[in-house]
Amino acid sequence: MRIRGNAGIGLGVAMRGGTLAVYGTAGDRVAAAMIGGEVLARGDVGADVGVGARGGTILIGGDCGPRLGEPQGDLIIFLRGKAASLASGMIEATLRKRDELRLGLLLINASIRADAKEFRRVIPEQVLQAERDRKRGEVDPNWR
């Protein structure tokens, strides 16, 4: 679903699948309680993005309001601009190769012209720690 304009409060709340792309800005609590699917906002978004989400992907092309994140599952947030603040336990991280690839496909799918390298990931600290502690080998090389 593509929305040409701005979205109000609660864009994509509790969505279970599919892709929701907004070419303008979005209000507070984008993708709260999300279970699956992808939410893309090309402009700025409000506060409490992804709160209580249990899965899915959020892409923010602009800046973001306070308390970004605080998912309760495997939510991935890609952010291009600045976040007013991150929710407790969330951290910014650089993209891995696989994330760049995934993000590139998302951008093409939503017809958004942007370079995946401009984005950063926002993920829970323990997820980043787990990524760093993961043992690498021949079948799981560290460039993936």
Partner: protein, 343 residues
């Protein structure tokens, strides 16, 4: 008859006896049937004014859930259930349950579009339910049931939302109720905690919901009276008031609640007890023996569960109708405060 203290109790009131100085003809029969009139003017009949508000489906295997849900609904009790509560059973369709209520939680947990089909009620749930530790959270097994995934032995909970994330304020209730009406022809009820009665009731009346459900901790009398007062002061005095209590009410207490202004009462205590029963124990000795030899379960064991449920509900409804009959009314909805007297 005015009740002013919030510490008023049902114990202080009793059913008024018939007069001893003149003849009063008793009604031929007292029925528990009640009718619900939606704000659109359309009305439908319910066999009983009772409902099962918050069954703990996830604590019981799906086969038992489906059996009990069908058995209780067939007795005319409104059952609150989602399709995903009965997940993993291919031949069970929650749409077939009548009357059925769809719990629409803050974060729409477990809800799918199919839930709206053939539902009699949508419960826009503003009251939070707690997990076994008292947190406002969903037990992990409840979430796994909704996601149709394998259940686990891990005791973990996932926090629930505390306000609809797509609402800015309670003013957003009006478009939400309208949206639900477009999605389904069901009556839209709003449920909330009695603690929030002064805030939620005006919002519910403004949104023109088809009914309200008030969750009450402790003695329900004061909350019923307060809720009824707020309704009677509004334009829509016919809006149904359903109550959920955290304790089991006796048939006499139910009649007192109806007299004080309640139109529907939850029977969670009674139905939960039945839910946690055992398919195995409800079989006869020969059926259990046959099952232990690996023979398929006889079809009539299902009928026995239906029979037990019907027996339990019929006895409860008959006791309530009996007490109401002693007050000289032919319908529970005709009970009024004048049928009670302070002791």
């Amino acid at each position: 008859m005015a009740i002013t203290s919030s510490s008023e109790s049902l114990l202080n009131w009793s059913l008024r006896l018939p007069p001893c100085d003149r003849f009063v003809r008793p009604p031929v029969h007292t029925t528990a049937a009640t009718s619900i009139t939606k704000s659109s003017g359309e009305s439908f009949e319910l066999a009983t004014p009772f409902f099962w508000f918050d069954p703990a489906w996830y604590q019981v295997d799906v086969e038992r859930c489906a059996l009990v849900a069908n058995a209780i609904a067939s007795c005319g009790i409104v059952v609150s259930v989602l399709h995903s509560d009965l997940a993993q059973i291919d031949n069970v369709d929650a749409s077939a349950l009548t009357p059925r209520m769809v719990p629409h939680r803050f974060d729409r947990a477990g809800l799918i579009y199919r839930d709206f089909a053939s539902a009699s009620f949508i419960d826009l749930r503003m009251a939070l339910s707690r997990d076994s530790h008292g947190r406002f959270a969903y037990p992990i097994n409840q979430l796994l049931r909704w996601a149709n995934q394998e259940e686990t032995q891990i005791d973990r909970s996932i926090d629930a939302m505390t306000f609809p994330p797509d609402w800015k304020s309670l003013d957003d209730m009006v478009p939400k109720v309208n949206q639900l009406r477009r999605l389904s022809s069901a009556a839209v009820f709003l449920s909330f905690d009695s603690f929030h009665l002064p805030v939620m009731m005006p919002a519910a009346l403004k949104a023109k919901v088809d009914g309200v459900i008030v969750q009450i901790s402790g003695d329900p009398l004061a909350s019923i009276v307060e809720a009824r007062r707020l309704i009677d002061e509004s334009e829509n005095t016919s809006i149904p008031l359903w109550i959920v209590t955290n304790t089991a009410l006796s048939p006499e207490d139910c009649v007192k609640c109806f007299a004080m202004g309640a139109n529907g009462i939850s029977v969670d205590a009674m139905c939960n007890g039945f839910l946690f029963g055992s398919n195995q124990l409800e079989m006869t000795t020969s059926e259990r023996a046959a099952r232990s030899f690996g023979l398929p379960k006889p079809a009539d064991s299902h009928q026995r569960i239906f029979h037990l449920a019907k027996q339990m509900v019929d006895r409860f409804v008959a006791d309530i109708c009996g007490h109401a009959h002693s007050c000289g009314v032919d319908r529970l909805s005709n009970l009024c405060p004048a049928h009670l007297t302070r002791t």
